[in-house]
Structure formats: structure tokens, C-alpha cells
Amino acid sequence: MSDALYHDAILALAKDRRHAGRLDAPTHSHTSDNPLCGDRVTIDIERASDGTVRRIGHFVRGCVLCQAAAAALAASVEGRGPAAFAAAESALARVLAGQNDPENGVWAAFLPVARHTSRLDCVRLPLVAAKPVFEA
């Protein structure tokens, strides 16, 4: 059932606008597209010299799942060092493989997506956009 996808935690994440919008002066920025649906995500970060993500902003033209994943990403990395992005990537990979794990944190909300092959890329897009930013 698709209803299970649109549960409260996902909808709440999608409505979480705290990190929505571009940053004024990002140190790093990257945009990625999903050619299948035309969705587009831009991730801006402002990184301190010690690697800490001081601020993150996301600009999403995408579905609820994509919006929610962008919010989850922002919540996972803001104020943290570079390891936080790698941890978010691992957590999402686990979740989309259907693995329940206490380390999944905020990403656990996406567990129902694992059963919807055609929607996996919707959730992945914000991390795909963010990867070059974090690896720069």
C-alpha cells in the first residue's frame, strides 16, 4: 500500500522548511537532476576550516519523498564534521535495503520506500546532489 509511504514522519520532514532555500554565501554548492522525472536538488553548504558544516541549505524541485530526504540530510549534517555525511549515506543505504537498525536515526522514516523500486531515486537525489559538496 502506498499510504504507508505518506505517514506522519515523512510528511512532517517534507514540511520542515528550516533548511529550505539557498544560502547567501555558500562555500560549496552543487545541483543534481533526476532525468527520469525532471526533479532537481541544489545543496549549498557553508563549511568552517575544520570541516564542520556551519550551515546547509537545500533547494528542491521534487516530490514529498525528495523534500523529506533533503530535510533529513540537513538535520543529519548541520553542525557536524565530514563523517556525518558518510554516516547519512550508510544509513540511507541500509534503510532503502529494508534494514531496520538503531543507527538509522531520522532515516528510519524512509523504511517503507524500500518496497517501491521506482521511488528509491526520489529519496537518493538530495544525497546525490550533496556528495560532491561534501567530497570537495
Binding site: M1, S2, Y6, L36, C37, C63, V64, C122
Partner: protein, 398 residues
């Protein structure tokens, strides 16, 4: 009437409102049975053997070509089987394109499916052909007011969608053909979305090329049709090289078989073509005036219901005038994929996204739309389910 038609489609169970026929239409028993009969009694390669199965397969493949030709009102020798509509369009871009010179032009429109856009972009990059474009009006129709000014002696081909796969608008073919004739330009129609909605009399249409795919006309995937006038098929060089398209092969060069074999290199999609032949035979027996009336009435229900829904914008004509039952819309504050997903949970199959028409969506400043498309088996229960699903969408997402 619709009930009798619908009962011929085993996949259409009462719990499914299949409103995605513009992506792929379902297959009736007449087609399923023909494919099964071929695969279980005559399966073999064509034109490559003298044993009885090879003979039966070759005959069945030829009969399928005749059935398609009869449905379209053209000679079988002008029917080329391809792997789909996309392959048919690429064939023209390659083989008719080979007859064009740098500086020649092709006229397209801003609402074309990527299949009638990208092959021409590839041709332009390869051989210095100019691409020109007709704009789309606010209703989502190709704007023919600029047709005359965009056509001059350099334009060798006008290639347009007969029916838009997004807006459902039907092209004024007679105007295009008459205006193109003044400068000697040939006309190719991408008929992917027109072919499922009733018989086509290609000779009366007056065009030079017509392309469509099997899976949208109630036949299997993997087969399509290119029809072209004999003199064009004769003049055009082949597209793909291989077996079955040759007359003589030497080590360094070859000569070509006559069309249509010249354009059918390799083993063709035999079972799928036989399914397409069966589909055309079946389509030829249907009460089309009644079907068209039902499709129009259901399309009007969709348009009326959407017009009454707050935040909905329909990308396409509001009236049924020159309009096929393909209805795309945006619901403010929602994304097509979320709509489609929730609709699926309500048993309604829709398509969401840019529908392989990104330039058109850009023209309307939209990333994507949600599309409901009807076919001859659609009925009121599908429309009821659509609006029930839409209420659910609005409750969850808005």
C-alpha cells in the same frame, strides 16, 4: 458496449482503474490468443528456412503486414516493421536525413515527444541540418499561425505529433500538408497517440510518413510501424545493416533488398508483429463512432471534474474540439509522483512526470504533470475511481 469490450481484456479487473493507456494500452484476448497460437504452433525464424515451421512463421509475418496495411489503407509493401515508434522515427531521421544536405531544415514543434526531437538533434549535429520549431499556444496546441513563415524551400521535412501525448491536442493535418506542399516539404506524423483512437486512412491524410508503436494500439511491446510512400522508401538508404535486408553481400560491399525488407535488418519481432496484425484486424471490427462518443464523454467528465477542483491547472484544451482523451494536469502544491503513488493506493494507474516532453513542460513553467489517459475500454467506474483518488490525494498532501 464498453462492458463487452472491457471483458475482452483479462488484466482489467474491477479493482483496477487503468488510466495509463497513453503509456501502454492493454491487450485483448484476440491479440493474446494470436501471439500464443503463433508461439505454440508456428514459432520459427522468418525467411530463413524451408521446414514447415519456418514456412508457417514466414506466412504469418507476411499476413500481419497485410493486416496492418489493410487497417491503414495502404499497400503492404509500404509497411516497415520496426521495434517501436521511436525506432520508426529514428529510421526516418537517419535514412531520409541521409538525403538531406547541410543547410536543409527540418520543422518540428515545442510539444514533441523526445522521440521526435532527439533523433533530429542527432541528425543536426551529424550533418549540419537546421532545426526549426513551431511554438505551442496557451491551450497546448501546436501554433500553426507561424507555419507559413517557418516554411521555405530549405525545409525538406515537417515532423509533428498527430496527437500530443501530454495535452491531447489533435493536429490540423490538412493545413500542415497543404502549406508544406507549397515549398515541397515532406510531412511525417508521429501517430503514437492517434493510432489507438480509431482507424486511420493514411492516403486521405495526405502525409508522406506515419509512425506508431504496437504497445499503444493494444498489441505487444517491441514492434512498431513506419509507413512511407513507396518512392521515399525506394530513395532512402537503409538504416541498420545485417541479415534479411540485402540482395547480395560481398566482403567489401553489398546491395540492398527492396523495401520494406531493406529496412528490416536482422530477425524482426515476429510474434509481436503477429500480435499487431491481430490487433489491427480486431480494431477494424469495432464500432468506432460509439467508442469515440464514449471516450469524449469520459474525457469531458475528467475536464469538468478537474476544472471544479481548486488548485488544478489542465495543460491542454478545455474543450473537446480536436482533442484526444489524454488529460494532463498540475495540482498546486503537489508533485506528480506523490499524486500517482497515492492514486495507486486507490487502485488508479496514472502517469506522472514530464512524459518525455521536457521542452513542453518548460514552456508552461512546470517540471511535470500528472496524466490520465483513456482507451476504448475506459468506463465511468474509472472516472469515479479517479476523482475518489484525487480527494484522497488532496487530503494527504494539502
Amino acid at each position: 458496449m464498453t462492458q463487452a469490450l472491457r471483458s475482452q481484456f483479462p488484466i482489467l479487473t474491477p479493482s483496477l482503474a487503468y488510466l495509463d493507456s497513453a503509456a501502454t494500452a492493454q491487450m485483448p484476448l484476440a491479440v493474446l490468443d494470436a501471439v500464443r497460437a503463433f508461439e505454440t504452433s508456428s514459432r520459427a525464424n522468418v525467411k530463413r528456412g524451408v521446414h514447415r515451421l519456418a514456412e508457417a512463421a514466414t506466412d504469418a509475418y507476411a499476413a500481419a503486414r497485410s493486416d496492418v496495411a489493410a487497417y491503414l489503407g495502404v499497400p503492404p509493401s509500404e509497411i516497415v516493421f520496426t521495434s517501436g515508434c521511436t525506432a520508426a522515427l529514428n529510421l526516418v531521421a537517419h535514412s531520409f536525413g541521409a538525403l538531406m544536405k547541410p543547410g536543409d531544415a527540418v520543422l518540428l514543434s515545442a510539444l514533441e515527444h523526445h522521440s521526435n526531437l532527439v533523433p533530429w538533434q542527432m541528425l543536426a549535429a551529424r550533418s549540419g541540418i537546421e532545426l526549426r520549431f513551431l511554438d505551442v499556444d496557451a491551450e497546448g496546441r501546436i501554433d500553426l499561425s507561424a507555419l507559413e513563415t517557418k516554411l521555405d524551400a530549405r525545409v525538406k521535412l515537417v515532423s509533428l505529433a498527430h496527437v500530443s501525448n501530454v495535452t491531447g491536442s489533435v493536429l490540423d493535418v490538412a493545413s500542415v500538408v497543404a502549406t508544406a506542399a507549397k515549398v515541397g516539404a515532406r510531412v511525417l506524423l508521429d501517430g503514437a497517440q492517434r493510432a489507438p483512437h480509431g482507424p486511420l486512412d493514411l492516403k486521405t491524410l495526405g502525409v508522406d510518413f506515419y509512425a506508431f508503436g504496437g504497445h499503444k494500439v493494444f498489441a505487444p511491446h517491441g514492434v512498431g510501424v513506419l509507413w512511407a510512400r513507396r518512392e521515399l522508401l525506394d530513395a532512402m538508404p537503409p538504416f541498420l545493416g545485417g541479415g534479411e535486408m540485402i540482395a547480395q553481400v560481398e566482403l567489401a560491399h553489398s546491395t540492398w533488398a527492396a523495401a520494406p525488407a531493406k529496412f528490416e535488418a536482422g530477425t524482426p519481432p515476429i510474434g509481436a508483429a503477429i500480435g499487431l496484425g491481430a490487433a489491427c484486424r480486431w480494431l477494424g471490427t469495432l464500432p468506432w463512432a460509439e467508442i469515440a462518443a464514449t471516450e469524449a464523454r469520459l474525457c469531458q467528465r475528467l475536464l469538468d471534474g478537474l476544472a471544479a477542483t481548486p488548485g488544478v491547472r489542465v495543460l491542454g484544451p478545455q474543450s473537446l474540439q480536436a482533442r484526444a482523451p489524454v488529460v494532463s494536469f498540475a495540482l498546486e502544491g503537489t508533485h506528480p509522483h506523490d499524486i500517482c503513488q497515492i492514486m495507486d493506493s486507490a487502485g488508479v494507474a496514472l502517469r506522472g512526470g514530464h512524459h518525455c516532453a521536457q521542452p513542453l513542460h518548460k514552456r508552461f513553467d512546470l517540471a511535470g504533470t500528472t496524466r490520465a489517459s483513456l482507451a476504448l475500454y475506459s468506463d465511468d467506474s474509472d472516472i469515479d475511481a479517479f476523482f475518489a483518488g484525487l480527494s484522497k490525494v488532496r487530503k494527504i498532501l494539502l
